[in-house]
């Protein structure tokens, strides 16, 4: 009989297996997210395709913000820009916290690795998901080498040190955010050195020291992420006196806007408030009413696509209950109709800031046509999404 002792498996192999687990879970979750936002993704790809710009110019443009960090003479600008990049990195990982967690199974796993190794595992996972964020850093390095050759080696090292800080800051934000202070102080010192024209090696050294200090003092591995539940308003409590559609609508609204979902709707919040912000920004410029109406109305498209994407959330909510609902006579098509009605109502609420901007502040009365058009677009997108859901179920 062959007995495999725990010691027979190397630490590196366990590390590899656990890393593979986390990446598979992340890929599955992200794919689900992409499926939910497929309409938005296609729209953005069509709008933002830089087919007309040469690749080198694209890379230069992409790396520009990172390169400006190392330029002398603009300490405030570079410090502000760096803080913005760190905030984006934090937001990026916070938005994907569920996918990064490794799932329910990860919590119950008694990990056969020391906390230090787990920290490296988390850093590895974060580095992989940060690849889109690291693109500007890669582009900056390419630009430096393309323009100055090996003379730019110290700057290349400094850019690499800055890039390495993104996953470190994300990890500290998840596990022990006060340790971020070490990184920030070191960054400020490094950027100040760059701004005053001192050796670029100092920037790299300061950032690396900050990273090391932050990681060394973040000894705690995990932080409890329990969210206090907020009691829903009485109109959203289920009641025997209400009809079935109203109770299902209340369930939908509580799920969509429950306290545990807040982090997922930052994008939606952005699109809801964008027309108001745009109006404030553009009204000082000399823009004609027709152009203004067109610009503000364009904000409707991402709002429609985001709202239609909520179909996938609702489908996920009701899927486990479908057999029981069927016995209660609440069929799938009936649920689809109630869900669609809820999403149309939610869409109307989402449109309020845009409509109030267009009608009350801008006095663009033609904007009254925007709402029915938006609702028709939404109905079509919801129908398309349900078609995808039904096809997935049948498969």
């Amino acid at each position: 009989m062959i007995v495999h002792r725990a010691g027979n498996i190397s630490g590196a192999r366990i590390f590899g297996l656990l890393f593979w687990w986390r990446m598979r879970y992340f890929a599955a979750e992200t794919f689900r997210l992409l499926v939910r936002r497929w309409q938005t993704t296609v729209f953005l790809l069509l709008m933002a395709s830089p087919a007309m710009t040469p690749l080198i110019a694209q890379l230069h443009a992409l790396g520009m913000p990172v390169l400006s960090l190392l330029e002398p003479g603009h300490f405030k600008d570079s410090a502000g820009l760096w803080l913005l990049l760190l905030a984006i990195a934090w937001g990026w990982s916070a938005l994907q916290a569920g996918a990064l967690s490794g799932g329910a199974g990860w919590r119950y796993l008694s990990l056969p690795l020391p906390p230090r190794r787990i920290r490296w595992l988390n850093l590895g996972v974060l580095t992989v998901i940060d690849l889109p964020l690291l693109l500007p850093f890669c582009a900056a390095e390419f630009t430096l080498l393309h323009r100055f050759g090996m003379q730019a080696f110290p700057s290349v090292v400094a850019v690499a040190a800055l890039a390495m800080q993104l996953p470190v800051v994300q990890l500290l934000a998840q596990q022990r955010w006060p340790c971020m202070v070490y990184c920030l102080v070191a960054d400020i010192a490094g950027l100040a050195a760059a701004a005053t024209g001192k050796s670029i090696w100092l920037v790299a050294l300061a950032v690396l020291v900050g990273n090391l200090l932050g990681l060394t003092f973040s000894t705690r591995v995990s932080r409890s992420s329990r969210v206090r539940s907020i009691k829903p308003p009485s109109c959203l409590l289920l009641n025997a006196e209400y009809g079935r559609p109203r109770n299902i609508a209340a369930i939908n609204l509580r799920y969509l806007f429950g306290s545990f979902q807040f982090g997922r709707y930052l994008g939606l919040l952005f699109w809801i408030t964008l027309p108001v912000a745009l109006h404030e920004l553009l009204r000082t410029h000399d823009i004609g009413p027709a152009a203004m109406l067109l610009i503000l109305s364009l904000g409707l498209i991402p709002l429609v696509l985001h709202t239609a994407g909520l179909v996938f959330d609702l489908q996920r909510l009701h899927a486990p209950m479908t057999p029981l609902h069927t016995v209660y006579g609440l069929g799938v098509s009936w649920l689809h109709r109630v869900n669609s009605a809820v999403l149309q109502a939610v869409f109307l609420a989402f449109c309020l800031p845009m409509m109030s901007t267009l009608l009350l502040h801008g006095r663009y009365w033609q904007a009254l046509a925007v709402l029915p058009i938006g609702m028709l677009m939404l109905a079509a997108c919801i129908r398309l999404n349900y078609w995808k859901v039904d096809r997935a179920i049948k498969r």
Partner: protein, 206 residues
Amino acid sequence: MIKVQRLGKQRGQQTVFRQLDFAWDTPDIICITGANGAGKTTLLSMLAGAMSPDVGDVLIQGRSLVDQHHSAVQLISYVPDDCPIYPFITGREWLAFTKPIRAFDANVEQALLSGFGLEPHLDCRFGTMSLGTAKKFLLTSALMCRAPILILDEPTNGLDKRSFEVLCQHLEQRKTEDLIVLSCLDQAQQNQLGARPVELSSLERL
């Protein structure tokens, strides 16, 4: 009460049933028995109308679950083997949700709530309940309905001794009027429930 005609179900490449053919005409407590994976849960969910068969039909007091689904399911109360209830709603809300769907007996509801010891848990959310407590809420919502056919999939899972006795008493009272079809792996519990065991494979038409 229940008549099953040439019922067949395929799960992927695997045939769960080829042709089930049977009828249960009188009130009774029937316990479907069989090995793990034999298809007990699949059969019960098809009898309840929660899953549609690939071929064949189930008649509930003469109403077809395939052609007259809406009117046929009015005669059924069903408790699934797991607890799929929305995790953010409370026990009280779940009972409130089911009440407008089926006619229910308020006295039975009250008796079951106190018998199962559910009153302190009425305002707990399903996400925070133990399996046993959640199961008791599901049982209460199903048993308080005035349906002549009860389909209970593993109803004793997670129940404590006192709650199991309450369930036995309730089924004992109903077995003279209603048809109760359940699954339960524990033979001692089957006996205590007074259930007549029926081997799943014996229902297959040869």
